[in-house]
Symmetry: C2
Subunit: 111 residues, 2 copies
Amino acid sequence: MGVTKSDLFTKEQNDLANVAKAFAHPARIAIIQYLLKSNACINGHLVVELGLAQATISQHLRALKDIGIIQGAIEGVSVSYCINPKRWEEVKNHFSNIFELYKNPNQQNCC
Amino acid sequence: MGVTKSDLFTKEQNDLANVAKAFAHPARIAIIQYLLKSNACINGHLVVELGLAQATISQHLRALKDIGIIQGAIEGVSVSYCINPKRWEEVKNHFSNIFELYKNPNQQNCC
DNA sequence: TAAATATATCGTAATATTGCAATATAATAG
DNA sequence: CTATTATATTGCAATATTACGATATATTTA
């Protein structure tokens, strides 16, 4: 049918999948990178930087905000976004945990 | 509309987004975890383990194989999948590079 | 208050993803 | 060769994502 059967999986599996989803678009990767570089970003700047429409950028910012890795503060007429340090660390650890699980020992019963 | 405008972004941004896409489904997270734990997995076992149809599991395995993080070897009538160590390391570093970029220095011009 | 500036949301079209039944393909056993 | 067993592919329906124009909302300036 087209609906992810979330109920078949653990909360952790669903969470990690959702976080990965936030990274699963080049525009959002670009936004994150811009943010890491400049320590702040504004919708309007990104429109120029990325070449996508204002509404589209806003949508991507919301996706990143929804999973908590960025946060925004009103700054005059515009909104300044930045990394949420706490959540960033959390997400980083989520991924680390998975990646560190693999120890390349020997090619025993492997292909 | 509705198509990701890949041409607006760098190869690196598109690559990372595609890798993230592979992680962006709880079933694929579960498959990866099962693989990390057992060092090998077989479509049929996963059907029982995850509770999804055989065709669906096969589809998810293909998605993981397409981005290279798993590989399969024919083993009698079935196919044994396992982590591709080289690619795994590569993908791990992709993510590390992004996550390590953020140094939580001070809340200066941030929100 | 009205105009200007900037972001968010709505509505909609195009495309992508998810899931599964049915079927095709491949390897082994008899 | 035929039946069995297991995986892959196809076709289709349901839902999700992406993108953008139009519009709503919010803040500042005149």
